[in-house]
Point group: C2
Amino acid sequence: MFPIRSKEEVVQEFRIQSIQDATMRVISRKGMAAATVQEIADEAGVAKGTIYLYFRDRDELIEKTFDGAMTQLTDRIDAVLDQDLPFDEKIRGILAAKLAFFSENREFFRLYLTLRMPEGPAPRQRRQKQTCHPQYRTRAEKLASVLKQAMERGEIREMDPYRLALFIIEGSTAVILERLTEDSSPADAADAEFIAGIVLDGVRKRS
Amino acid sequence: MFPIRSKEEVVQEFRIQSIQDATMRVISRKGMAAATVQEIADEAGVAKGTIYLYFRDRDELIEKTFDGAMTQLTDRIDAVLDQDLPFDEKIRGILAAKLAFFSENREFFRLYLTLRMPEGPAPRQRRQKQTCHPQYRTRAEKLASVLKQAMERGEIREMDPYRLALFIIEGSTAVILERLTEDSSPADAADAEFIAGIVLDGVRKRS
DNA sequence: TGTTTGACTGACCGCCCGTTCAGTAGCCTG
DNA sequence: CAGGCTACTGAACGGGCGGTCAGTCAAACA
């Protein structure tokens, strides 16, 4: 079979990937605001100008980098949702997928913390949306719909599913943050079970 | 009784308060990064230079503003913790206090979202702490200790109390964010009950 | 081997924003 | 009312960073 991509395209894709990887490393180290284009270029081993051959400006670089990683996360979670599992297992699966993803992509976590929410890259644009990043919101809505179905089936109590989804997502993000900053042991199934336990059964002692 | 503060001190305190209030309003409107000293000065109705009579630099202005509001929040929560209440009521009380506080101090919420966490104002300083803001951490630890006591008394299941505390705090923050951005109705006891319900009893149907 | 091409470079530009400080105006004091 | 003192002002400064573009050079080509 013919190679689908020409040599040039492969090289180009490699460049783009290196630059995006460098972007994540620098942001992970310095934080979003302190990450300069110069330092990203150095980290990627290219000149500053090169970055502007592949990205319109700093904003586009960061947005594309973020979207790329977010899509991977979304795909993994969707893979769980597409399976035909009982409600409990879906929740466990989603949590496990998220934990595993951030465990493997620590560099991305900082960027995720900064961009999922309103505050975000507002400075440059006119009017920022009051809402969060599209992919974040979509994810919350998907989780909300799983919760809603469970409510309709009578498996869980009736309550606002979207708020419950946000509660679960942000609560688990906090646990991941703690996990990632405290030590280097990978977040494993035990953490997913910890969070699932709180949500599914609460903390009250079974009597 | 003599006035404890001289007239000058009162005037000075008033200035400081106006500037800090303006700071919160501007950050609430534009976000941390886009909030310039000039705009804060305009909002407060003083010249840019005046701000530097009361604060060393922009960092100190923001830090003092943040700390002031954080202390109020901390005090309210401590007031709940100091009461001799059953575990359930303490949790409910803490959540209600937090909800009420942010409902009354919407302007502060953006600042809170930005500064409680690592990312924070790192750019300027050499090595930022890997941990969160001191008052945030203290609050998490206090909640953790309440949870720990409840575990020791056998009221709730055994698990890592600090992580559970973080889960509750961030989960509830997410719900508050949703509440504050979606409409203008004040977050009331129903929201506190919503969150308390998830934590205390989980979402599973009682059977 | 001479020529062309375009990916890559990095010095430079201009803007923005935090910070400064000489100047001003209002107020107390004698 | 003169003189000085202090709180306040805002134009100007300087540093930093995103973005540009004239120049370089290695590879492809003839």
